[in-house]
């Protein structure tokens, strides 16, 4: 080593310690600065963690003498729905004077009523009429079609019924949603169409009975899917789990399955009258699993063993798939 090379000039202990100290101070300073700049509670507005709501139960008290399931056969919506409700003890059993009732139809598509892909306007008219007759002060109609709510309500004929019956038609708006918390099989935290539930103290599900491409059938349990917001199609991967979760999420006052005209194939959208079969039946009840069990076996005329989501719900104690074991009544109008 040449002594003339500056890079090889000796460093004494003092200088070495000074350099070491400076380096250490620099590292420590950087660390302190980073810590000061770091925002452990950093959040983007709108994305902060929120505590989700939990829906209350709207279910009536369990009766040991009154039926929990009613099956009515007829050719006209109103007469048949009246008959079914009569078997259950009348709408007065569920709706009292001054109640604000939310009716949840299935308005998922902008299809005309004849194609049976959506809740039929005659069914809505009849149920709303019964609610008012029982003393309801207001009837809200709400659903969250993914696509163009106004178009779906209009083409399904429900807008006209709402206008005719002075119903409070509630479209999903940007501020209509709130996070929902649920200890479901797949449904844990999700955005939920909450506004109607702030006003209503009774909830009625009014669903058509129809074939479904992914989960075999869309009836009263699947109907609550329409209350979810966001990109809910991701649940299609776990369709039976999510549908069974709805029996946990929602404890309605009553559910009514419209099986007057059943979409037997190419569901859930249909598109041809040949997909629709008149079954002339209304099923009403307090246990949506029992109602759907009847609908699947007797209206869609399929083997109940294949409808996984009903079995999942039953296994979790959320309903009774064996509808014949429940207190039920049947009538032909």
């Amino acid at each position: 080593m040449s002594a003339s090379n500056p890079s090889e000039s000796p460093v004494n202990r003092r200088e070495f310690l000074v350099r070491l100290g400076l380096t250490g101070a620099l590292i420590a300073g950087s660390g302190l600065a980073a810590k000061k700049l770091w925002q452990p509670n950093h959040f983007v507005p709108g994305f902060e963690k929120e505590k989700g709501l939990q829906l209350r139960s709207y279910a009536p008290e369990i009766s040991k003498v009154m039926p929990s399931l009613a099956i009515a056969h007829g050719t006209e919506h109103e007469k048949t729905i009246r008959a079914a409700m009569g078997l259950l003890g009348g709408m007065e059993r569920f709706i009292q004077r001054g109640d604000v009732v939310m009716i949840k139809p299935n308005v998922a598509f902008d299809r005309p009523p004849a194609l049976a892909a959506t809740t039929h306007p005659d069914a809505l008219r009849a149920v709303a009429k019964l609610c008012f007759e029982a003393g309801a002060s207001k009837v809200i109609v709400a659903d969250n079609p993914i696509n163009s709510p106004t178009g779906c309500f209009f083409k399904s004929g429900l807008t006209a019924v709402a206008a005719e019956m002075n119903l409070d038609l509630m479209y999903p708006e940007t501020n209509s949603f709130a996070p929902l918390s649920l200890d479901g099989e797949v449904l844990k935290e999700w955005t939920f169409f909450n506004t109607p539930f702030k006003k209503a103290n009774k909830v009625i599900g009014l669903a058509p009975c129809k074939d479904h491409n992914l989960c075999h059938a869309s009836m009263t349990t699947k109907n609550w899917y329409g209350l979810l917001g966001g990109r809910r199609n991701q649940f299609h991967q776990h369709i039976h789990s999510i549908v069974s979760d709805f029996a946990l999420m929602m404890k309605p006052t009553l559910v009514i399955l419209d099986g007057m005209n059943v979409l037997m194939s190419n569901g859930p959208t249909g598109g041809r009258l040949s997909d629709v079969k008149p079954m002339n039946t209304i099923v009403a009840g307090t246990d949506m699993i029992s109602v759907d069990a009847y609908g699947y076996s007797h209206l869609l005329e399929r083997d109940i063993a294949e409808l996984t989501y009903l079995h999942k719900a039953q296994e979790r104690g959320l309903g009774n798939i064996n509808w014949k074991d429940t207190l039920y009544k049947e009538v032909t109008v």
Binding site: N147, G151, T174, F192, S218, G229, N266, L273, S274
Partner: protein, 395 residues
């Protein structure tokens, strides 16, 4: 650069009389490592310089459409795809159709959006569906959906279309002036090819549909018209069965069938299915593994009423070599699970019959055409059907 440290043996440097350390040798590995680091620094520096030189100012630009999607999702609504008029200036400025013709019918479909594309194209890209038909009026703007956003329109039905490689949907509603409150919905599902369009069309076929004369694959249903033209599966759905509504639906069907380009690529097998005795709703397309045979691909099949029996018939078109090979493989397969017998040739077609699991198959091969009757209970009728078909007596 290597850091070399040398602590000199000099008392005036504060050595304190301790033993001095002098580094006299640098290991070769250290020199090599230093050289590699130097080279890497140069490479990184060059890469940074180059990246800066070709920097795309749009790389980190705000994509408002993406933000819109996010906002809608957070708010719980995916919403309707913006219309072309809202998002495509050229489309918004395009003049409306002035005759009883559609505009843009021959235009390419909305681009991309197929599943798996790295950057799905926004749903709003597309040519508006303009139908100027006396007595009708558009009820709103054209809606556009890609394969990825199709669920927004048809929700749980979307996977069925995706399984046939749907590329896009555009749809629009038209009010019928003569019937207040009535309307006609027009859905045009564009697939990646005519065969897939046919597959979806066949899956949803109305068993009571009456064949349309305007297209090869189409039917009139009680409340609408459904047909495949090229790679497009068209659904024209009336809101009701009023004569005025159905008449307009028919007119729209005629216009769309005329304006959409015909393309039967891949459907040669379909053309081979004879029309005589065909049960209308029985036509099906099997893309692969037909009859459980890997060699039977792109097969078309249908059921026929023949001499009081229902005859299931299939046909495939391929090269002559492929057809011959598939015919032999099929016969070999049948002989493993049943009995087979070669029958006399008919009009250039070689035939074998087989009985497998109690059912009869009569299979022919003529040049690039392979077909036959399968799952027949009556061997004589199955054979007679094939022989008549090969002689051109069933057309």
């Amino acid at each position: 650069m290597l850091l070399r440290l040398k602590m000199a043996d000099q008392k005036n440097y504060g050595g304190g009389g301790r033993k001095q350390f002098v580094r006299t040798k640098v290991p070769a590995a250290e020199s090599v490592s230093a050289a590699v680091i130097l080279v890497l620094l140069v490479v990184i520096g060059f890469a940074v310089w180059h990246k800066g030189k070709v920097f795309d100012p749009n790389l980190y630009a705000v994509r408002t459409d993406a933000l819109k999607s996010t906002v809608l999702a957070v708010e719980g609504k995916n919403g309707t795809a913006p219309t072309a008029a809202e998002t495509t200036p050229a489309a918004a400025e395009a003049p409306k159709a002035v005759t009883e013709k559609t505009t843009g019918a021959d235009e390419p479909a909305p681009e991309g959006g197929a599943e798996g594309s790295a950057t799905p194209n926004p749903a709003e890209k597309g040519v508006p569906l303009e139908i100027s038909l006396t007595g009708t009026k558009p009820m709103g703007d054209t809606e556009f959906y890609t394969a990825d956003s199709l669920y927004e329109k048809i929700d749980g039905r979307a996977p069925a279309y995706q399984s046939f490689n749907v590329v896009a949907l555009r749809c629009r509603s038209f009010a019928v002036n003569a019937a207040p409150g009535s309307y006609v919905d027009v859905y045009e599902y564009r697939f990646d090819n005519p065969v897939d369009a046919f597959g979806m069309f066949a899956l949803e076929r109305d068993p009571k549909g009456k064949p349309l004369e305007i297209v090869a694959d189409g039917y009139a249903a009680d409340m609408g018209y459904f047909f495949r033209q090229g790679a497009v599966y068209v659904q024209i759905i009336a809101s009701d069965t009023k004569p005025e509504t159905l008449a307009k639906a028919k007119s729209i069907a005629d216009i769309r069938a005329k304006d959409l380009p015909a393309d039967d690529t891949g459907l040669a097998g379909r053309r081979k299915l004879p029309a005589d005795g065909m049960i209308a709703d029985s036509v099906a397309y099997v893309p692969e593994n037909a009859q459980g045979q890997s060699a039977l691909k792109e097969v078309f099949q249908a059921k026929y009423k023949f001499n009081g029996a229902e005859i299931p018939f299939f046909v495939m078109v391929a090269s002559a070599d492929e057809a011959a090979k598939a015919w032999q493989l099929f016969q070999d397969f049948c002989s493993k699970f049943g009995t087979t017998e070669n029958l006399p040739d008919v009009n250039g077609g070689k035939i074998f019959r087989a009985q497998v699991f109690g059912k009869w198959k009569v299979v022919y091969q003529r040049e690039g055409e392979l077909g036959g009757v399968f799952d027949a209970t009556d061997e004589a009728k199955a054979r007679a059907f094939i022989e008549k078909y090969l002689r051109g007596e069933i057309k």
